[in-house]
């Protein structure tokens, strides 16, 4: 339930100060009734004509739309919570709101089969004409998934493509964090109230998103996450984006719900291929078999969508790193040659070098690794080393 702070009826003052139409305040009030589905809200709007009239609707009319039980709850709610209190609470908590009749309501959201009635948000709403990619995937991701998510997100950020995701653990959070780190903008659609940080471990990301993008939700503030709330929110993730990119997914994954929604909404679906033996790539590989587009590099998507020219960037980066490599010791070059974007353990690197009949001793290999790391060509994660993509 919504807790409302501050009591006085100050609706007019608020309206004048923030130039907010009374209609928006009433819409906001209506949207905090979480148990009314957005479809019914739209029907109420049809019947009443404006949101203010919904608030003032006669019982019989309400009953005609929502049935007897629904009507009782509606009337009860109307007696307990005044629109002004709801609005003041939002203003105090730094939460903004917009709904379907406002000009700033994202058109991408309005045009889907089951549009939300309104959106609560922190930070900003995504800009209408900026291209956006939804990056989604497994919560328990592999290191491969992590690397891919970071690499793609950073590339999109560099091309000023927004990243839309769900701020969940794993791929979602990693992609968004990587995009923000690269200086891009990212928007999270939450499956709970926008003032709730879920999962808690993403607290830092949450703060960053509020500053460098936005947090969106169709659920009212203070609403705790529930498993049933996530599938509907997935439709908003795909709705807000032009392309849905599946980074890593198991055979039976919640990610695939988003893909279904995306197809229904007519969004492009891309998937990053994986090895056919990896259980975490099963979902992606299956999508590819069903007709999703192979995303082998972020540049592919950018070019396909006509968002920019990537040729110059792609190659200039590589040559500079090759030039840097040539200044390194022979051992470092040898070590670099066996490294991959897939992380390898120290021992794995040794084994690979041995397979190539290299005569490097272990101390030499370590020296090479540290040199590469200091030069910023290689990074280490969980004791495993991988190449940083130029």
């Amino acid at each position: 339930m919504i807790k409302i702070i501050g009591g006085k009826d100050t609706i007019h003052k608020t309206v004048i100060n923030n130039e907010v139409s009374a209609q928006k305040v009433y819409a906001c009030w209506l949207d905090t009734i979480y148990w009314i589905s957005s479809r019914i809200k739209y029907r109420l709007l049809d019947v009443a004509g404006s949101t203010q009239s919904i608030y003032q609707m006669a019982q019989e009319q309400v009953e005609a739309v929502m049935g007897k039980r629904g009507c009782e709850r509606f009337v009860q709610h109307r007696e307990h919570y005044k629109p002004s209190r709801v609005w003041n609470y939002l203003a105090q908590s730094g939460i903004s709101y917009t709904y379907c009749q406002e000009p700033d309501f994202p058109q991408k959201l309005a045009r889907i089969p089951d549009p939300p009635f309104g959106i609560f948000y922190k930070g900003e709403l995504p800009e209408e004409n900026v291209p956006a990619v939804a990056m989604i995937g497994a919560r328990k991701c592999s290191t491969y998934g992590r690397c891919m998510a970071e690499q793609f997100a950073a590339a999109f950020a560099a091309h000023e493509v927004n990243i839309i995701s769900g701020m969940a653990m794993g791929i979602d959070g990693i992609s968004q964090a990587a995009a923000l780190k690269a200086g891009g903008r990212s928007y999270a659609v939450l499956g709970c109230g926008v003032d709730i940080v879920y999962p808690r471990t993403n607290e830092t990301l949450y703060q960053q998103l509020a500053a460098q993008g936005g947090l969106l939700s169709e659920y009212p503030p203070q609403m705790a996450p529930r498993s049933s709330m996530f599938p509907p929110r997935n439709r908003l993730i795909s709705a807000l984006s032009d392309v849905v990119l599946v980074v890593e997914a198991c055979e039976k994954s919640g990610t695939l719900i988003t893909v279904d929604m995306a197809l229904e909404q007519g969004r492009e679906v891309y998937a990053i291929p994986g090895r056919c033996t990896d259980s975490l790539s099963m979902g992606c590989n299956r999508l590819l078999r069903q007709g999703a587009v192979v995303a082998s590099a972020p540049e592919d998507i950018i070019e396909d969508m006509g968002w920019g020219q990537c040729h110059t960037r792609k190659y200039s980066g590589k040559t500079s790193s090759i030039r840097l490599l040539e200044t390194l010791s022979p051992t470092s070059q040898e070590v670099y040659a066996v490294l991959d974007v897939l992380p390898a353990s120290q021992d794995g690197i040794v084994t690979k070098l041995r397979e190539k009949n290299s005569t490097c001793t272990i101390p030499q290999i370590y020296q090479g690794l540290v040199e590469l790391e200091l030069k910023g060509l290689v990074m280490s994660q969980n004791g495993q080393y991988r190449i940083i993509m130029p």
Partner: protein, 513 residues
């Protein structure tokens, strides 16, 4: 008549010479014992009486008083039985007074007069030699242990009758009766030491190298890896690459084992580095030592050797925290009801653990642990413990081809030769100091012993910034680099040594952030 017999007692790891005084005089017949005695010493009364009877010695009805001094020390152990019996016999005039001159007597008695083995013989004999005692009469089972010291006659007795016969003999003919035990250095071979070799381990080259470095500088080491990656196999082989114990060290270790009652006829002297692998359910007492009658714990038994803790996070937190003091001070201080004791505990900690509860992280195709679970698992190892571990290495899963392949791997002897050389260099460097190994250098002396050139200094700065190291970690990297330089036979630490040391720090930072 009054008599005085020298015996010995163990207090903590030290021993003292005690005196058993016996007075047999006319009066109301009785047997009194004084001198802060525990139950088992009190019970000596009955054992001695019956044992004497069974050795065909008739005790006349007299008032017998036994006093064991020093009185302020609590006496616990049955080793006073034999000295009490001998004391009574001297008081009764059945053994000549000269027979027990400068003679230390130890032993527990059975009712049939048999002499049983006792614990703590080694330190007691050592003490006796210092106090210029000429001869020790010990239970047969402890003879080899006592004979290790040398320069003192060790007489082994099997039963009370033999003892009486020996003591009654005139000095010149005593040696014919029972010859003093010869000082033979019995090499005790642990069964596990000899039949395992590093040559049997395929792959895991990086871990093997890390272990070599750790062994050379006596650095504590932590191996992280999935189940079945060979962590335990490698740990079991570490004793084989450590230098043999010197005689001095061997006596030191044997003393602890003697006090713990773990030396016997078959194993009179510990000549191999101890290897102890306590199960993770071990209690705090068993690990640290103590108990009502204080005994050294597992960490003290691992003195100068290896304490292997497999599945480190599975140990109870409290148990792990006990390691803090020993890891820092190389000894443990235990205070109990009957006094406080200091046991040495200078061991090399070899720890092994899985990276997450299921063991397969970061292999996400097998690991299904959530990030929170992994974090919780890792957090069982507290920062202070982790801080004291110099080398952290990762043991990845070995693939089947490697396991089944017949490979030419380096054998333990070759690795040991390199370790020995590194140790020699350390011995030379620290010859006038209390340090023995690189791992022990205090932060104040790092500048003295681990000089860095300008290039190396610059590299340390770069690494320091890149990895965001703490001051302690910084020192550890330098210490490990020193050991690596020693292994390579270099006097100066070079960038390559620092690089390698950094890689051993890397893992710990990556897991614990």
């Amino acid at each position: 008549m009054y008599s005085r017999v020298i015996t010995g007692a163990v207090s903590g790891i030290d021993s003292i010479l005690a005196t058993v005084e016996v007075d047999a005089s006319k009066g109301m017949p009785g047997f009194e014992m004084v001198g802060q005695l525990s139950n088992e010493v009190r019970e000596a009364k009955e054992r001695v009486r019956v044992a004497l009877k069974n050795a065909s010695v008739e005790i006349p009805p007299m008032r017998i008083t036994v006093s064991i001094s020093p009185a302020e020390m609590r006496k616990e152990s049955a080793s006073y039985d034999l000295p009490i019996a001998v004391g009574i016999l001297v008081s009764l005039g059945l053994i000549p007074r000269e027979g027990i001159q400068d003679t230390l007597i130890l032993g527990e008695l059975g009712l049939d007069g048999e002499v049983y083995s006792v614990r703590g013989v080694l330190p007691i004999v050592q003490k006796a030699k210092q106090e210029r005692v000429r001869r020790c009469i010990l239970p047969l089972a402890n003879v080899r242990e006592g004979a290790v010291i040398g320069g003192i006659d060790i007489i082994g007795v099997g039963n009370l009758s033999d003892t009486i016969a020996y003591l009654r003999e005139v000095e010149e003919r005593k040696a014919q009766k029972i010859a003093p035990a010869e000082r033979t250095l019995i090499t005790h071979l642990d069964e596990m030491d000899m039949d395992v070799d590093f040559a049997e381990i395929n792959g895991q080259e990086a871990v093997k190298r890390a272990v070599e470095v750790a062994a050379a500088g006596f650095h504590h080491i932590l191996m992280i890896g999935p189940p079945g990656s060979g962590k335990t196999m490698i740990a079991k082989r570490i004793p084989a690459i450590l230098p043999d114990l010197s005689m001095e060290e061997s006596l030191e270790v044997s003393t602890i084992y003697s006090v713990a009652g773990q030396l016997d006829d078959k194993r009179a002297l510990i000549t191999r580095r101890p290897f102890l692998d306590p199960h993770h359910t071990i209690s705090e007492q068993a690990l640290a030592g103590g108990g009502r009658i204080p005994k050294p714990g597992v960490i003290s038994l691992a003195h100068r050797g290896i304490l292997f803790m497999d599945e480190l996070p599975e140990f109870r937190r409290n148990t792990l925290e006990i390691l803090r003091q020993p890891l820092e001070d190389k000894r443990i201080h235990i205070a109990r009801t009957y006094g406080s004791f200091i046991y040495p505990a200078d061991f090399m900690l070899v720890a092994a653990m899985n990276p997450c509860p299921c063991g397969y992280y970061p292999d996400r195709s097998r690991c299904n642990c959530s990030d929170a679970e992994i974090k919780k698992y890792l957090s069982k190892i507290s920062g202070p413990i982790l801080d004291r571990i110099d080398v952290v290495t990762e043991a990845p899963r070995v693939d089947i081809h490697q396991l089944s392949a017949t490979m030419q791997n380096e054998c333990s002897a070759d690795i040991k030769a390199r370790v020995m050389e590194a140790r020699e260099r350390q011995k030379y460097r620290y010859k006038n100091t209390a340090y023995r190994f690189n791992a022990e250098i205090g932060s104040g002396d790092i500048r003295t012993y681990c000089k860095l050139g300008t290039g190396e200094q610059k590299m340390m700065e770069e690494v320091f910034t890149m990895m965001n190291l703490s001051a302690r970690a910084y020192h550890k990297v330098i210490k490990v680099a020193r050991t690596i330089a020693d292994l390579e036979g270099k006097d100066d630490i070079c960038t390559e040594h620092i690089s390698e040391a950094v890689c051993y720090r890397r893992n710990d930072k990556d897991y614990w952030g």
